[in-house]
């Protein structure tokens, strides 16, 4: 059973516009969330994280929003750049847990 879901397998955005990637989860015990970015033939690389005590975390062009009541988080990229084209994975864990649960990924294409 997929505890972390990314329902959009792909997304296309014009360069300079905002990219919004969404993630939903089912386990109410999750309280730490991460986004990873993956280029072809490379391993995923850490992008940004957020803990449940916050509802927003910002790092440069990347902002993650967390809505605990809706069990939903999103990654905003503003402005989007062609180099942002990659697969983005959402991941979640419990504070005391060992596992990170990953979504199926969203493939972002930023069109120049």
């Amino acid at each position: 059973d997929q505890q972390v879901k990314q329902n959009s397998p792909s997304l296309s955005v014009q360069e300079g516009r905002i990219s919004i990637l969404n993630c939903d989860y089912t386990n109410s015990m999750f309280d730490y969330f991460l986004w990873y970015k993956k280029y072809p033939a490379e391993g995923p690389t850490f992008l940004i994280s957020i803990s449940s005590i916050k509802d927003k975390n910002e790092d440069g062009r990347f902002t993650v929003f967390l809505n605990k009541s809706a069990k939903h988080l999103s990654l905003h990229i503003v402005p989007s750049q062609p180099g942002d084209s990659a697969v983005y994975f959402c991941a979640a864990s419990e504070w005391s847990g060992n596992q990170f649960y990953f979504g199926t990924g969203t493939s972002l294409t930023v069109i120049p």
């Binding site: 997929q2 972390v4 990314q6 309280d31 730490y32 991460l34 990873y36 033939a41 490379e42 391993g43 995923p44 690389t45 850490f46 994280s49 803990s51 994975f89 991941a91 864990s93 419990e94 504070w95 005391s96 847990g97 060992n98 596992q99 990170f100 649960y101 990953f102 979504g103 199926t104 990924g105």
Partner: protein, 118 residues
């Protein structure tokens, strides 16, 4: 090297053969994870090592899968009697903080080993 190193990068094998995949984590990282990504799927947790503690094997899909970590560093994932459904990219990750989930630690991934079972 500076990052997580995995070998081989690609492995093609025949159904029924055994395979070994190797992971060399970042020096000093005590936590080591194995994940796999099948076509169109997310990253599936397989096994977790932390220091000298007993590994968390809860994600291993069958008893054909096993893993060990020698000397708290290099890890080997072994798949016996491979099946076509074992075809996937096997990703290794390491982390600095013990029990890093939820404590500010992130995973550093290798480039993966792509396994194809014919």
């Amino acid at each position: 090297g500076a990052g997580v190193s995995q070998s081989p990068s690609n492995k093609v094998t025949e159904k029924g053969k055994d395979v070994e995949l190797r992971c060399d984590p970042i020096s000093g990282h005590t936590a080591l994870y194995w994940y796999r990504q099948s076509l169109g799927q997310g990253l599936e947790f397989l096994i977790y090592f932390q220091g000298n503690s007993a590994p968390d094997k809860s994600g291993l899909p069958s008893d054909r899968f096993s893993a060990e970590r020698t000397g708290g560093s290099v890890s080997t994932l072994t798949i016996q009697r491979t099946q076509q459904e074992d075809s996937a990219v096997y990703l290794c990750a390491s982390s600095l903080f013990p029990g890093s989930a939820g404590r500010g630690g992130e995973l550093f991934f290798g480039e993966g080993s792509r396994l194809t079972v014919l």
